[in-house]
């Protein structure tokens, strides 16, 4: 009994940091409507800066002062980020905000390694809280008791701040209607900046307070952000009480889950989250959001099928690509196969994200499931290659069917957070369930059979499947199903009013997209001859997003071009620099701010401008639109 009680207290202590970070995320989202993906990075920075300060300055004052000063320093960094980057993208579509803050996270990962090195750092114990308290023979670190007391205190301070100060009243008002707050004479800019500073301060404090408990390392950011996303989805984004309750809930589930399923404790959290989503999709303490105002697109060019000339051109490009083995060497052909596979992957995400309006931040899950599917079938069941290739993606399909069912209950940022959390769950299983997946060692020896073994043959196989998949997806965009999907994307209410079952359509799109990603993953397993948890990882999910963004989110063929350019550049870049995350992150941020239409989108804009200039010459069209309020 005493053991379970101590386990319970450990859970409560872990909840402290989680609550601090989650409440910061919630406060920022409430006012700015930005889900700050970089929140984990600020948490991690808090831990690193606190580590340095507490090492440098001795004594109790050095420790506690160091913790607070670290949080303040990181909050100032946050303010700079808000003023330089976020102010430029407050009006951008939410996908771009998510991507920009994600790019920031990637950059911070490389920066902390540059400053503090790649090794784990062990922080100092907290002065005055070094011992342990004995509880019926079980030890409880006294620092844990301090953390347990801390979260209700922080909750109380935040409550007073929001209920009893003018600043708090303004923040609550802005959470509801920020334009109206401006129309009453309040300068939103500084309100946003101060809110962001508070949110980042809380995150950094959460990180700084962890150093006596946990080693500081450069993967802290993703670990915490996934848990925080789970917390805010359960508790309700924008609610501080919700963040508190859900942080305790998730921490306790983790603490006890580890006793029940030691290898895959995250399953328990997932089950609870699934139940909450079914009963209250907006979280325990959240409020149902009014149907989000659609951010008007960046372009207003309607989609159209290819003209016959363009079809011939595409066919020509395909024939040209198919002739590559005539002159290219083996390495180039392997790179070519990889690019083809990533075209499939990017096209699958594009279908979900651009056609369906559902930006998945965890699309690698289905790619990876396809890869693992092939590995299981080929290695464990010993199926021939054709059968494995056909059946392997079924694992991706099943994963997409299960996760997609929950994910499409939500939309916008909630959808993004949930898909990321799901992908991380798949990754944890691949990483932790060593008996089945081989864990970090992966599954080796998944080689293609003789007929497909030569680089040229495998390249033709990949290219053929890619051409087929891209064509089918494209046909689907202009099929009745594609129209229904786009209708649901553009106006959920109106499409429902004409009899479209939006959730069903989106779920179907999710399953199609996941299956196609699985096909890419299946080919990838044979290309590499092995499968590792990396194929499910977050960085692969982000690569897919960048490919679609680079090509142009609002175009039909952007994913193909984006994947080719990105993958080629990426393979080259990795061979050139060790700081690939810093470069990639910086590239994402730059692209969001300066180049949001992507390659194909920009080309289309130039072509349309030229066309409309010609049209103006031939006929002066005067269109007067009825005055509307």
């Amino acid at each position: 009994m005493a053991f379970y009680f101590v386990q319970f207290l450990t859970g409560l202590a872990s909840a402290a940091s989680l609550f601090l970070v989650a409440s910061g995320l919630s406060i920022i989202f409430g006012v700015t409507r930005i889900v700050n993906f970089a929140h984990g990075a600020f948490y991690m920075l808090g831990a690193y800066v606190a580590f340095t300060l507490t090492e440098r300055f001795s004594g109790a004052l050095g420790f506690w002062g160091g913790i607070v000063v670290a949080a303040l320093i990181v909050a100032i960094i946050g303010v700079l980020v808000e003023m330089v980057l976020l102010r430029r993208i407050y009006h951008a579509p939410e996908l771009f905000q998510l991507l920009a803050t994600f790019g920031l996270t990637l950059m911070v990962q490389d920066i902390v390694v540059m400053i503090w090195g790649p090794d784990d750092l062990l922080g100092r114990r907290a002065p005055g809280f070094k011992g342990a308290v004995d509880f019926f023979g079980q030890n409880i670190p006294s620092y844990d008791l301090f953390l347990i007391a801390l979260s209700p205190i922080v909750l109380g301070i935040l409550w007073l701040l929001f209920q009893r100060t003018r600043w708090g009243v303004l923040v609550r008002a802005a959470t509801q209607d920020r334009d109206m707050v401006a129309a009453l004479g309040v300068n939103q800019k500084w309100l946003f900046t101060s809110v962001f500073a508070l949110g980042v301060f809380l995150a950094a404090l959460g990180g700084a307070l962890q150093i006596p408990r946990d080693a500081v390392h450069h993967a802290l950011d993703l670990r915490i952000i996934v848990e925080v996303f789970v917390v805010v989805v359960i508790g309700g984004l924008g609610s501080i009480i919700g963040a508190f309750v859900a942080a305790v809930l998730v921490s306790e589930l983790n603490a006890f889950g580890i006793l029940i399923f030691p290898k895959i404790s995250i399953i328990l959290v997932f089950l609870v989250m699934a139940v909450v989503l079914i009963v209250r999709p907006w979280g325990l303490f959240g409020k149902p959001e009014a149907a989000a105002r659609r951010t008007p697109g960046l372009t207003v060019t309607p989609w159209r099928p290819l003209t016959s000339g363009e079809r011939l051109m595409s066919l020509g490009a395909l024939v040209l690509a198919a002739m590559m083995p005539l002159f290219a060497g083996n390495y180039a052909l392997t790179v070519g196969s990889e690019i083809a596979i990533f075209v499939i992957f990017a096209a699958s995400l594009h279908f979900l994200m651009s056609v369906g309006g559902l930006a998945s931040f965890g699309h690698a899950a289905y790619f990876g499931l396809g890869a693992y599917g092939v590995a299981f079938l080929a290695k464990a069941a010993g199926l021939p290659m054709i059968a494995s290739l056909l059946l392997g993606p079924v694992l991706g399909l099943l994963g997409a069917a299960v996760f997609g069912f929950f994910a499409v209950q939500l939309s916008g940022v909630y959808f993004a957070m949930l898909t990321l959390a799901f992908a991380q769950i798949v990754w944890s299983i691949a990483f932790q369930w060593v008996e089945v997946t081989g864990g970090d060692n992966g599954i080796l020896g998944v080689w293609p059979e003789r007929w497909a073994a030569s680089p040229a043959n495998f390249y033709w196989l990949s290219l053929g499947i890619t051409a087929l998949v891209v064509t089918v997806l494209r046909v689907m965009v202009f099929s009745p199903f594609g129209f229904a999907l786009r209708a649901t994307r553009d106006s959920p209410l109106r499409s429902e009013a004409i009899g479209i079952n939006g959730k069903r359509v989106q779920w179907t799109a999710f399953v199609i997209s996941g299956t196609v990603a699985g096909i890419g993953g299946a080919l990838f397993a044979y290309l590499k001859g092995s499968v590792f948890p990396d194929s499910v990882g977050i960085s692969l999910s982000v690569d897919a997003l960048v490919m679609v963004l680079l090509g142009g989110v609002e175009t039909v063929s952007g994913a193909v071009i984006g994947a080719i350019v990105f993958k080629a550049a990426n393979i080259w870049l990795v061979s050139q620099t060790d700081l690939s995350k810093l470069v990639l992150g910086g590239f994402i941020v730059l692209m969001v701010v300066a180049f949001p239409k992507g390659i194909v989108g920009t080309l289309e804009t130039i072509r349309n401008r030229r066309r409309s200039a010609e049209a103006k010459k031939s006929a002066l069209v005067t269109s007067r639109i009825e005055a509307a309020e």
């Binding site: 003018r166 009243v169 303004l170 609550r172 008002a173 959470t175 509801q176 209607d177 334009d179 109206m180 707050v181 401006a182 129309a183 009453l184 004479g185 309040v186 300068n187 939103q188 008007p296 007067r624 639109i625 009825e626 005055a627 509307a628 309020e629």
Partner: protein, 234 residues
């Protein structure tokens, strides 16, 4: 002259909404902006306070061109705005709603305090701690006006204050507006309801399809039934 608007053009995306709007408001005057649904009344107000991003023209408030200033700066300068949709902060109590609107005292405008506003709108004084979301439409309308007055404006743009209110509440609204006028607040009030406008206004403009097509005193408007019938649905 309190407010002078000239050559005001506004756009929503590619759509041209307002065409060369010109209007003037004198010190302490109540001016009505009349027009049908969709004529451009709200857009005119939103353009004046800078809530419409794409606009051009001159907006001179108390001798200073404010057309390039952001919304909050215009409002802080003493130009209050009461939106048509009320936009009460439903999670905030009556007192908290008023707090959001509070601005420092201004030398050239009447100074409003919570207590003074509660005598002007007695209903509000009885529900100081009630959340805005649990108030009736009329009470919310009173609260939006009171909230804007907390900024001590010298001019208020009132967007359709009588819309959707019961006759009894409309009467209270007339009294409140006349009381504001007596304190010395200049007011522009947009209306579809000519009777209501006549009770409070000194002058009127008529807007139709984004253009001002009449401007004059109430008496002049009454002398031109043809204009009235062509542009206002009675």
């Amino acid at each position: 002259m309190k407010l002078q608007v000239a050559d005001l053009n506004s756009f929503y995306g590619p759509a041209h909404i307002l065409f060369d709007i010109a209007l003037e408001v004198g010190e302490g005057e109540v001016v009505a902006l009349l027009g049908r649904n969709g004529a451009g009344k709200s857009t005119t107000f939103r353009s004046i306070v800078g809530l419409v991003e794409s606009r051009s023209g001159r907006i001179v408030f108390e001798g200073k061109d404010v057309s390039r200033e952001p919304t909050h700066a215009i409002v802080r300068g003493g130009l209050g705005y009461v939106p048509e949709e009320r936009r009460i902060f439903t999670d905030l109590t009556v007192e908290e709603n008023l707090e959001v609107g509070r601005q420092p005292k201004r030398p050239n405008a009447p100074h409003w305090t919570r207590e003074k506003l509660f005598t002007l709108f007695p209903n509000l004084g009885e529900m100081r701690n009630r959340p805005g979301g649990r108030m009736s439409g009329g009470e919310q309308q009173m609260l939006t006006i009171a909230r804007t007055l907390m900024g001590n404006p010298s001019l208020v743009l009132l967007d359709e204050p009588s819309e959707g209110l019961s006759p009894k509440i409309v009467e209270q609204m007339v009294d409140a507006i006349l009381a504001m006028k007596k304190e010395g607040v200049s007011i522009v009030v947009s209306e579809q309801n000519l009777h209501f406008a006549r009770l409070i206004s000194d002058r009127a403009y008529i807007i139709e399809r984004g253009k001002i097509c009449f401007g004059g005193t109430m008496a002049e408007l009454d002398a031109r039934p043809d204009i009235r019938d062509a542009h206002l649905s009675l």
